[in-house]
């Protein structure tokens, strides 16, 4: 739609601005989602420990991390609405073309998962004094179930964009139509993406718990609960990390099978290579465009192993794939932006590995409940908190940008997906509004999270007075 007559600004591209807007709002939304996915389970575990042992330190930790979880959850919800609306607002050509298929997992997410988590989270927040202890405990586990289900359906929808399955093209209506919902929900990409997302989310939630614990142990306050929190968080990061490696391996295989171009782009591998030649470059000096490589550290066979789980496998190169796609889909550039895919893939892995390394060292240092450590150790633990979420964010950039120029792989290009009825000015306005609101909220949100974390645990625990009405606001 047009505001009036924007003659001056007509050459602003609605497509480019919509891409920026979707990228910014999605990355922003997904800063909150992993913490929600991981933290809801950690809080549920802490509350279960309290109900089982009656040890008050677990209740204190439940309350503290519950607060962190909720401040974060609110942001996830409100920024999530924007995500759903944007498909129609900015990408209506996409919505028309794949809505018959893509809409189904989204609607299922709403009906099966989103209602569910929104309801039970309300009961958990306000139900402390209103529900029997065990029923109240059940509400946080049910919230967790809703959150995870929600993640699955969204990843199934995304899986369709990476590896479209379960559909056929209706020529008369010029759209993709669903023919097998089972295939969409068991898409090999979704099946592998889901555990990878979950385990990485645990790394982030664990790292946040560690940071809070470290902050207080450094100041020698709330020692008893914070020692528990720190160890609990460190184990979560480590186990989450191991899980992320294993699931990442599975996802890599699925990617090679479904999107060979993305794997070739991850490695900037121009020529199809076999065996020892299919090496994995850890570091490349110069440009990774294969022309002006000055120096690189490479591990022979590794790319072959990652891609095929055999040492003498063949990994298709960019040039062959490009030629193949031109043959199949007509002239055009079918390669994503290589410096982004190449470096994003490495940063994702590097940040995850660093986070795991810190967790291992932390577990060794704090064994036998030692906590008398130099300040710099605690500072490392505090500042390591954002590493997993950075890795997650960059990993998604790899996943989404590595799919370009397609919005649905091999089916529809991003360039033809934008809404025909909107112009650059409209999108410029919305981009401005979202940037302004999201920027302001980021500042407030971060301050509040920090304040909640720094305050530590309450000295008093809640009353169990069932007659009192719980107010949260």
């Amino acid at each position: 739609m047009h505001i009036a007559n924007p003659a001056v600004l007509t050459d602003l591209s609605a497509l480019d601005l919509s891409r920026w807007q979707f990228g910014l709002t999605t990355v922003y939304h997904f800063l909150f989602v992993p913490l929600t996915i991981g933290m809801v389970v950690l809080v549920a575990i802490l509350q279960t420990a309290w109900v089982k042992t009656n040890n008050e330190k677990f209740l204190k930790l439940t309350k503290l991390f519950g607060k962190v979880f909720l401040i974060n959850f609110a942001m996830g919800v409100v920024t999530g609405i924007v995500q759903e609306f944007q498909f129609g607002m900015n990408w209506s050509a996409y919505s028309r073309f794949v809505g018959d298929v893509f809409g189904a997992p989204l609607a299922m997410e709403g009906l099966l998962a989103f209602f569910f988590e929104a309801t039970f989270i309300g009961l958990w927040i306000f139900g402390w004094d209103r529900l029997p202890k065990k029923v109240h405990l059940a509400t946080i586990w049910l919230t967790a179930l809703g959150v995870w289900l929600s993640a699955y359906f969204i990843l199934a929808a995304n899986g369709f964009m990476q590896n479209p399955v379960g559909f056929q093209i209706n020529e008369a209506k010029n759209r993709a139509e669903l023919v097998d919902i089972g295939a969409v929900l068991t898409n090999i990409v979704a099946i592998n993406q889901f555990p990878h997302t979950i385990t990485a989310s645990f790394m982030f939630a664990g790292a946040v718990v560690v940071a809070v614990g470290a902050y207080h142990l450094k100041r020698k306050q709330f020692i008893e609960p914070m020692r528990t929190a720190t160890r609990f968080g460190l184990w979560t990061v480590l186990l989450g990390g191991i899980g992320t490696v294993i699931t990442g391996d599975g996802l890599g295989l699925a990617m090679v099978q479904t999107q060979p171009m993305k794997m070739a782009a991850a490695e900037a591998l121009y020529k199809t290579s076999t065996g020892a030649d299919a090496s994995f470059s850890i570091f490349t000096l110069g440009t990774p465009d294969g022309v002006s490589e000055l120096f690189s550290v490479r591990i022979p066979y590794l790319l072959s192993y990652l891609s095929t789980h055999t040492l003498n496998g063949t990994v298709e190169g960019l040039n062959d794939l490009q030629a193949q796609y031109v043959h199949l889909y007509g002239p055009g550039n079918y390669m994503p932006v290589l410096w982004i895919t190449y470096w994003a893939f490495r940063w994702m892995i590097g940040l995850g590995a660093l986070s795991m390394l810190i967790a291992v060292v932390g577990l060794v240092l704090t064994r036998k409940w030692k906590y008398n450590l130099p300040n710099w150790v605690w500072n490392v633990a505090i500042w390591a908190a954002p590493l997993p979420v950075l890795g997650i964010s960059i990993g998604w950039m790899f996943t989404e940008m590595g799919r370009q120029p397609w919005i649905v792989f091999k089916l529809m290009k991003t360039a033809s997906a934008v809404s025909p009825g909107i112009n650059g000015v409209d999108v410029l306005i919305s981009l401005f509004v979202f940037t302004l609101i999201y920027g302001a909220l980021a500042v407030v949100e971060f301050k509040l999270l920090l304040a909640a974390a720094q305050k530590g645990v309450e000295e008093q625990v809640v009353s169990e007075d069932a007659d009192k009405l719980a107010v949260a606001y």
């Binding site: 739609m1 047009h2 505001i3 909720l70 401040i71 609110a74 942001m75 919800v77 409100v78 920024t79 609405i81 924007v82 759903e84 609306f85 498909f87 129609g88 607002m89 209506s92 919505s95 809505g99 018959d100 809409g103 189904a104 989204l106 609607a107 997410e109 709403g110 009906l111 989103f114 209602f115 929104a118 309801t119 039970f120 309300g122 009961l123 306000f126 209103r130 759209r175 139509e177 669903l178 023919v179 919902i181 809404s419 025909p420 009825g421 909107i422 409209d426 306005i429 919305s430 509004v433 609101i437 909220l441 407030v444 949100e445 920090l450 304040a451 009405l469 107010v471 949260a472 606001y473």
Partner: protein, 339 residues
């Protein structure tokens, strides 16, 4: 009955559910400057919807997602066509949502508590009033029809939507949700604030009745159908009855009647629309209907199974939530010295 007809009803049901539920949240939000004399009052108001506003808002997300799944053409044309109004609604919903969460937390970061709370209170008020107005404008325009070209792409501007019928529709939802919220306050709070809400509800309800009567008769004249006539009559009667019940301090009855008013009034709009879903004023042949906008039979079948099992379950567990939090909120419920 065909599957796309069933889905027209389900989408209608979800939007009506959204207006019934978030409608009173919006009304409570708008009541803050009128009834919230001090911070305790304002907290009574906010906590009256505290445990439920989030799940009420969820209805619009589910309504949007089912619209996407069942009528992708409708979803695509509507959401891209109403780009700027939807942007405003999104901004308002974000502002309102975070304001609920943040308003009581200013002291944790050393902010000036009065200023901090006042800022977020205004975000709640505007974040409630703006969507109340704009949803009415949007739905009135859907019923009236908008310029759509042969590809079902909206060709109007923002000002196309701000026509007399659209604006009247917006004022109806604005005042109706305000009244709905006020009556909800009489049902959910105790003490002086309840009496003030009741008195204000009578005034707001009278204005609503006049505006709604004009709007619904206008709709009926433009799109007459027997079912539309019956729904309109029921909406008008129950609205008037709700005001009497409110006056005679029968909060429960008044609130139930208002719920019924919203169901029948929005129902009459969907009746006026049927079998179109997004009529074109450019050329009737370019209109989106339940036939050319719907998903394939297979998708509708799958989604019908999901809806048949899930919607009753959703109603049960959400009903349980309302039961758990059935107690009234009063100034005594707000702990002294808390934030």
């Amino acid at each position: 009955m065909q599957l796309n007809e069933i889905w027209f009803l389900i989408v209608g049901f979800l939007f009506i559910g959204y207006f019934v539920l978030d409608g009173f949240d919006f009304g409570v939000g708008m009541a803050i400057p009128f009834l919230g004399k001090d911070d305790t009052d304002r907290r009574v108001l906010i906590n009256s919807i505290g445990p439920v506003w989030d799940l009420n808002e969820t209805w619009v997300i589910v309504a949007g997602a089912t619209l996407f799944a069942a009528f992708p053409e409708w979803y695509a044309s509507l959401f891209s066509g109403f780009y700027l109004p939807l942007l405003l609604i999104l901004a308002a919903l974000i502002a309102r949502g975070v304001a609920f969460e943040y308003r009581g937390k200013g002291h944790t970061i050393g902010a000036d508590e009065k200023k901090w709370k006042s800022r977020f209170d205004w975000m709640i008020v505007i974040g409630s009033a703006l969507p109340s107005l704009l949803w009415g404008v949007a739905f009135a325009n859907i019923v009236q029809g908008v310029p759509l070209n042969k590809d079902h792409v909206y060709t109007g501007t923002l000002f196309t939507l701000l026509n007399p019928y659209g604006l009247l529709g917006g004022l109806v939802t604005l005042t109706l949700f305000f009244t709905h919220g006020l009556v909800f306050i009489t049902l959910k709070t105790d003490g002086d604030i309840k009496d003030r809400a009741r008195a204000l509800a009578t005034k707001a309800g009278t204005v609503t009745t006049v505006l709604a009567a004009g709007f619904l008769v206008w709709t009926l004249v433009a799109h007459f159908s027997l079912i539309g006539f019956i729904l309109t009559a029921l909406a008008a009667l129950s609205l008037i009855a709700a005001l009497f019940a409110n006056h005679y301090k029968r909060e429960g009855i008044s609130f139930s009647l208002l719920v019924f008013t919203i169901i029948t009034a929005v129902g009459s709009l969907f009746a006026a629309l049927f079998p179109n879903v997004f009529p074109s004023t450019t050329n009737p042949a370019f209109s989106l209907t339940i036939d050319n906008a719907s998903s394939s039979q297979y998708t509708l079948t799958v989604m019908t199974w999901v809806a048949v099992f899930m919607i009753p379950l959703v109603l049960i567990y959400q009903g349980w939530t309302y039961w758990v939090f059935r107690k009234r909120v009063s100034r005594q419920s707000i702990p002294a010295g808390s934030h």
